[in-house]
Assembly symmetry: C2
């Protein structure tokens, strides 16, 4: 339910049309809270009905200029200061890490190496944004710089983690067997079933420890069933 607050937040800077807001969403909030045109216009309607914004003026081609109301400002302020931000609960990368022992070690290693490379590449892009190279003219707002630094630090951390993890998978392979060759491109994928015995991602054996760990970076709350 945060699209509402994103819209309020933008209107807090000053009145704007749906069209204006959409551009800001695409340009500035795309990686933080994306919204589609469809969604935006619908939400503006709802916000108007709820009295959190008003149509301040109507312009040339059906353009409606929205402005935040006092009630809207109050709601926005409440959300900013009192509502605990929820962490993203789903992470496809981490989900795959959970199942990493289901693919051949070399595939696992490749996967992690690719994660490392991706994080590193993104990290570099962000670094470039931090130090404007003369011909660049983007006066990052103070909060913009905070967000940028967040990105720089987190991508760096993920990069190092993935490299470390790739090495770890690598050495684990060397210990077991000398089998470093390719598995061929045989139809069958990796291991088939070798005894039906369980042992899932920490097994269906209870104890939520691993799960808690997995969500760590991107999620909240360790479900400490502790003993079970």
């Amino acid at each position: 339910m945060s699209l509402r607050h994103a819209v309020l937040g933008l209107l807090a800077y000053g009145p704007a049309s749906g069209y204006d807001l959409l551009k800001t969403f695409d340009q500035s909030l795309a990686n933080v809270w994306p919204a589609t045109q469809s969604q935006l216009y619908t939400e503006l309607g709802r916000l108007t009905d709820a009295g959190l914004v008003t149509v301040r003026a109507e312009g040339p081609r059906g353009r409606k200029e929205y402005a935040i109301t006092d009630t809207g400002r109050e709601e926005f302020h409440h959300w900013m200061t009192e509502v605990e931000p929820e962490r993203p609960r789903r992470d496809g990368m981490l989900l795959r890490v959970f199942f990493l022992d289901q693919v051949a070690p070399d595939k696992a290693r490749t996967f992690l190496e690719r994660r490392a490379a991706a994080a590193s590449a993104y990290h570099d892009q962000l670094l470039a944004l931090r130090d404007p190279t003369a011909d660049d003219d983007h006066p990052l707002a103070a909060n913009g710089r905070l967000a940028l630094e967040y990105g720089i630090r987190v991508t760096d951390t993920v990069h190092h983690w993935a490299s470390w993890a790739a090495d770890r998978v690598n050495s684990a392979t060397h210990d077991k067997t000398g089998k470093t060759g390719k598995t061929g491109k045989t139809g069958r994928t990796g291991k088939a079933r070798e005894g039906e015995a369980e042992g899932g991602p920490e097994g269906a054996n209870g104890d939520g420890a691993t799960g808690a760990a997995g969500g760590a970076g991107a999620a909240g709350a360790v479900n400490s069933t502790s003993r079970r």
Copy 2:
């Protein structure tokens, strides 16, 4: 569309019922890819129809034991190794950071300090999981340990970032005015409107730089409109 693959991933370890899987989702995958009972049973039906799993046996109280098929294994393997993981696109915390200059500096500082504390607390919980204290018996699988380490590193990074950011907001306040006192609890929230001039989160002025930065940690792809 990844619930499907999470289910396949779990079934890759061995056959299980919907009820079994649900427990695993709640205990192990809760922070990585949560699923509800409702969703799970529906998905198992769809997977069966698609031929990716089969009902291997029917047990006592209507229990259906599902097993992954060869086609299912192929699909799972493909998803693990060839499909690029999508990063979470929405982050409520980062969204608030974007609007941080809309609330009074002391509120902004408090917000960041709370983020720091939360990250730190979570970090500590994860650390406790890493070094089992004798009476603890959770044999973390290799991939479980990778995920745990991810969590430990990322929470640490976020903790430090938030502390740094809080300090930054703090010093910025000192520079401007001596006004450190409370704003009172007057109905009006922070600043009202002081001139109608724009200047949003890097403004509605174009250049997506800030936006790209914001998404950094949790998102992918810098939208390099570059010049515009």
